[in-house]
C-alpha cells in the first residue's frame, strides 16, 4: 500500500475536548507508560542480579526525589489504566453507553485512580 493523503484517525488537535476523549487518549498514553514501567521492573531485576553494590546504587536512585516521582507516576498510570480498562470491559459487555453515565464513570475513574495511588503508597510504605 502506498501513502495516501487521507487524514489519520484520532484527530486529537481538531476535536473539542470531552471527558470521553480525554480518557480515551489518556488510556492509551498510560498504557504506553505502563510498558516503560514494566521495562523499569525488568531493569530492577537485572540490577538485582548484578550484585549488592549495584543494587544499593539503584536503591539510591529509586529513593531520590526524581526516582520517587517516577515511581509514583508509574503507580498512578497503572491505577488509571486498570480502572479505565474496567470501564472499557463494562462497555464491552454492553453497559454504560449513555452520555451521562459515561461522563460520570469517567470522573469516577479519574478520582479513584488518584485515591488508589495514595492507598498503594500508604500500604506499601507501611503507613496504614
Amino acid at each position: 500500500m502506498t501513502d495516501n493523503q487521507n487524514p489519520l484517525s484520532p484527530h486529537l488537535q481538531i476535536y473539542r475536548w470531552h471527558i470521553s476523549s480525554l480518557l480515551s487518549i489518556t488510556h492509551r498514553i498510560s498504557g504506553v507508560i505502563n510498558l516503560f514501567a514494566l521495562i523499569l521492573i525488568f531493569f530492577w531485576l537485572l540490577v538485582l542480579s548484578l550484585g549488592e553494590s549495584n543494587y544499593e546504587f539503584f536503591l539510591l536512585v529509586i529513593n531520590s526525589f526524581i526516582g520517587k516521582f517516577i515511581l509514583i507516576g508509574f503507580t498512578w498510570s497503572m491505577s488509571f489504566h486498570i480502572l479505565s480498562g474496567i470501564r472499557h470491559l463494562v462497555w464491552d459487555m454492553g453497559y454504560g453507553f449513555e452520555i451521562k453515565t459515561a461522563n460520570i464513570s469517567g470522573i469516577i475513574v479519574i478520582i479513584s485512580s488518584l485515591i488508589l495511588t495514595i492507598i498503594f503508597w500508604l500500604l506499601g510504605r507501611g503507613l496504614i
Binding site: M1, T2, D3, N4, L8, S9, P10, R28, G31, V32, N34, L35, L38, I39, I41, F42, W44, L45, L46, L48, S49, E52, Y55, E56, L59, I62, N63, L71, F74, T75, M78, I82, G85, I86, L89, D92, F120, W121, L123, G124, R125, G126
Partner: protein, 107 residues
C-alpha cells in the same frame, strides 16, 4: 491471528494482568525500602518468581496487541508500521525470556 481472536485475547490478558499488577506494585513499593539481602530473599520465593514470569509474558503480550492497534491508528506509511511492529515483537519476546532465564536459573 484474526482480529476477533486478538480482541478476545486482549481482554483476557487484561483480566489476568489486573491482580498481577496490584501485587507487583505493592511489592515494588515495599522493596524500595528494603536492602539487597531482603530483596534477594524476596525473589528466591518460588511464588514470586512464577508470578513475575507470568506478569512479563502476559504483560508484553498485552502490550504487543495494544501497540499494533496504536500503530494502525497513527502510522500512515505501511513500511514504517511493519518495522515498528517487528521491533516491538522482538522486544516483547526478548525481555520476558531474559526474565525467565534470570528467575529460573536463580539470580
Amino acid at each position: 491471528m484474526n482480529e476477533t481472536r486478538k480482541w478476545a485475547l486482549h481482554r483476557i490478558s487484561a483480566i489476568i494482568l489486573t491482580p498481577l499488577f496490584f501485587w507487583v506494585y505493592f511489592s515494588l513499593i515495599l522493596l524500595s525500602t528494603k536492602n539487597y539481602q531482603e530483596a534477594i530473599y524476596f525473589f528466591e520465593n518460588p511464588l514470586f518468581a512464577i508470578l513475575t514470569i507470568i506478569l512479563f509474558f502476559i504483560g508484553f503480550f498485552h502490550a504487543k496487541i495494544s501497540l499494533s492497534e496504536i500503530f494502525e491508528d497513527y502510522i500512515q506509511n505501511q513500511k514504517i508500521k511493519d518495522v515498528a511492529n517487528i521491533l516491538v515483537l522482538i522486544l516483547c519476546i526478548i525481555i520476558p525470556t531474559i526474565i525467565l532465564i534470570l528467575l529460573v536459573y536463580k539470580i
